[in-house]
Every structure is written in C-alpha cells, then in structure tokens.
C-alpha cells in the first residue's frame, strides 16, 4: 500500500467513539474546500448539539439545491428554471454578452450593478498544461449565440491571469470572423489606492488603458 493511500485511510476512517455515523459525517465535512479534519470535527459536534429541526433543515437545503439547480440552457449560469433570471429579464440588453469563466463571476459582476447586458459562462479557462482545451469549454454555444441572436458586443471578463487572458485571446481570434465588437474589462490602478504603492504592471496597464477625461 502506498504511503498516501495509508494516510488517506487513516484520516478517512469511520471509526469514532460516538459511532460510525459520526465518523462518516466528519469525513464528509472534511471533503469541503477549506475544511480540515479539526474543523470537520467541530462542525460535526455542532450538528450533534443543535436541534433536529436545524440539522435536518441543513440536510434538506443541500438536497434541494442539488435536485433543483441546473444550468441555464442559454448562458450556463446556475438556475432553477430552464432560463436564468438574467436571460429571462426583458429589460436587459440581449445584444451585449459578457463572457465569464464561472457562474460565481456573474454574482460578483451583478453586485457591481453597472452591466445591463447578459452573460455567457465558459465553464473555466483554457489551460492546456492542465488538460483543459477548447473542447472542454462552452465555446461553440457562444459562437452559435453570436451568429444567431444578433449580438453586437462581446465583453471578455475572464480572470486577468495568463490563462484567463489566453482564453480571451483565443475567443477574440474566433470572433474576428463575425460582425461583432470584442471588448475586455479595463485594468490598472484600484480606486482609492495611491500611485506610490501601485506596482509597475498596474501602472503600465492603467497608462495603456487611459481614457478621455
């Protein structure tokens, strides 16, 4: 048996002084992102000490979200219906599509409250070194949407990392063949900061992306 398997077996054991079910619960909590073994035990103790109603409410909420949430058939945002609330909203400009990597990026952009168009979720960024190629992303549905729905502008809102920018570059090269304007989010100095503490890249980006006053 390999050392890692032995370690996993040791940590994932369901043996527990209170019983196997508690061991299972701790293991399930420990699988969550950012939760270690100690935190998992604390959460399990909380579940054991809270009322049955509260604990089953948590279980029901998890079950409900897994059973009712699916992807929007148009933009691949998370939704309970066939179309998400943004795609259904007739007040939004359907001709301007903002491309993001993950559904949680939509939440962040919506919190800013300035974008009035609609979204398209790619499902990640191109990362050939990690085995994520164009075929793993929802690129074809985006191209279909641009071709058939009279989209006039595509806003690239992928993460400002090399892989995010690479994905935007790949898409913009594909969209070059279509009659659509391709833009990307501005970058540079954060509002409220001071120039003295901005790094070279931020200043260069800000200078390159300067706007008419």
């Amino acid at each position: 048996m390999r050392l890692t398997d032995m370690a996993r077996q040791r940590f994932e054991t369901t043996d527990h002084p209170y019983g196997e079910s508690v061991g299972c619960l701790i293991n399930e909590f420990a699988r969550l992102p950012g939760i270690g073994r100690k935190s998992a035990e604390r959460l399990a103790h909380h579940v054991l000490s809270c009322s049955g109603e509260e604990a089953l409410g948590l279980a029901d909420a998890i079950r409900q979200v897994k059973e009712s949430i699916r992807y929007c058939t148009l933009c691949f945002n998370l939704t309970e219906d066939e179309l998400c609330s943004i795609c259904r909203d007739t007040r939004r400009n359907q001709q301007v599509v903002c491309v993001v990597e993950q559904p949680r990026d939509i939440v962040s952009l919506e919190a800013a409250g300035v974008f009035e168009g609609v979204y398209h979720v790619l499902g990640g960024a191109l990362a050939p070194l990690s085995g994520v190629g164009p075929e793993q992303l929802r690129i074809e549905p985006l191209l279909r949407r641009v071709r058939s729905e009279g989209v006039t502008e595509v806003v690239m809102a992928t993460n400002p990392t090399l892989e995010g920018d690479g994905t935007a570059l790949f898409l913009s090269n594909l969209l070059d063949e279509l009659p659509v304007s391709v833009t990307r989010l501005a970058r540079g100095i954060a509002s409220g900061s001071v120039l003295e503490f901005a790094n070279r890249e931020m200043l260069a980006d800000a200078m390159r992306g300067r706007q008419t006053f």
């Binding site: 950012g34 070194l129 990392t161 090399l162 690479g166 570059l169 090269n173």
Partner: protein, 243 residues
C-alpha cells in the same frame, strides 16, 4: 529563509486563498511551495504568482519531503504573448512544460534559467516562435546532459561534414552515417547541413540562426523525438504548436 529570482511554471489553487506554486529558480532549480494567501490581491504576493511570471521570491526551505513555504513574491515581469498570437502564448506554455518535466527539484541550472527567461522575452517580442523554441529545446537538452551527438556518427565516429544524409537514432543518442545505417532501424534521416544547423542552435552564446522554411520539418525530426525520449512522453503543448 532563501531568496532568489524565479519563473512560475505551474500554479494550482489549494484553498480559498492559498496556492501551490512550482517555480524554476535561478539559484535553486525547481522548487514547489505553498503560498498562503497567494490568491489574495493584497499581501506579500500581490497577485505576482501567475503562470510564467518572473518574480523575486523569498521562501522557507523544508527539510522533509513536504512543500516549501513561500513567504513573499515581488513581480519582476509578467509574460505577455506577442500581439494577438496564440503561438506565442502556447510557446510560453511549452517552455513551462519542458522546465517542469525535465528538471529536478533543487538542481540549479543558471544557464538554463537565463535561456528560459530569454525565450519568454523573445516569444513576447516579434521573433519567430519556431526558432525561439528550437533554441530553448537545444539549450535545455545540452544543460541536462541529453543533447544528441550531432557532429559524428555514433557507431563509426565519422565526422559530419560532407553532404551525406544521416539517420537519427534517438535511443542511442545521435546520428548514424549511411554506412552504419540498417533498414530495420527505421530512423528519420537528416542532411549534414541540418545537423550542423542544429549544432549551432545548441550553442547558447551564438545568435539564433535563421531557419529556411523547408528545413524546419527536417530539424523537428530530430528535436521532437529527442524531447519525447527524455520526457518519456509527448509534450502536451506540441498538439497546439504548428511546427
């Protein structure tokens, strides 16, 4: 605490705020470390730990087999592909893939580090990605001691110098002249001129030679198998690079 200059060759998110980063450093070779708070915009990393970014790093070397602890990273430069060229971007990824796969932890190669930085700078400029990557591949093979013998026949020691064709026998590590060649070897062949050109690519101090377009496939017939042989698999990025 150790301090050095390094280029990021692999990044994986570890938790909400932390990252596991593999870097190829000038003074320590390849290192892998945990950057706690490496995903935060503010803090000791300032979003410097992006793929192919060159940084000044500070890290705590762990004596056990566990990951080192990165404590600080200051961005020197970020890799930006040339214009809207995907080949430039994929070329950068290829450099990262080769550094990751063909170097060992804590095995410093300052010459290779300089060549990697130079290759990234050239890819970010308007240089032809094929020549840049060929120079880097040959410099890498030379540095890790896996450069094929390109100036003599590995069986009879006949020098490469006349106008004959030579077969490239990857597992034996070099060229075989027509006298020593056997049909059952089934190896690709190159001209003596191409072998000489490749030798010039492997010298990091000489300027990068121009590659006549019709000669490139011949050169790749040697370099691609040599890289695949040492790496023990075909690099993922070759699928994206139109050599």
């Amino acid at each position: 605490m150790e301090k050095t200059e390094a280029v990021v060759i692999r990044v994986a998110d570890f938790s909400e705020t932390s990252r596991v980063v593999t870097l190829f450093s000038r003074d320590f070779g390849k290192i892998a470390g945990l950057a706690k708070g490496g995903r935060r915009l503010k803090g000791p990393f300032e979003a410097a730990l992006d793929l192919l970014a060159t940084c000044q790093i500070v890290f705590l070397r762990k004596s056990s087999a566990s990951l080192d602890l990165l404590t600080e990273a200051k961005l020197i430069s970020r890799f930006r592909p040339y214009g809207r060229s995907l080949h430039s971007l994929y070329g950068g990824y290829y450099v990262a893939e080769l550094l990751s796969g063909l170097t060992e932890d804590y095995d410093p190669h300052p010459v290779l580090y300089d060549q990697a930085i130079l290759a990234l700078q050239r890819l970010a400029g308007d240089a032809d990605f094929r020549s840049v990557l060929l120079r880097f591949e040959m410099a890498l093979l030379r540095e890790i001691g896996q450069l094929p013998a390109l100036d003599f026949c590995i069986t009879c020691n006949t020098p490469v110098g006349d106008d004959r064709r030579f077969a490239f026998w990857v597992s034996a590590g070099g060229l075989i002249c027509s006298h020593c060649q056997r049909p059952e070897y089934g190896s690709p062949t190159i001209t003596a001129d191409a072998a000489t050109l490749l030798s010039r690519f492997s010298d990091p101090n000489s300027p990068i030679p121009d590659i006549p377009p019709d000669r490139l496939p011949e050169l790749r017939r040697v370099v691609t198998p040599a890289i695949c042989h040492v790496l023990e698999h075909r690099p993922k990025m070759l699928r994206f690079l139109p050599f």
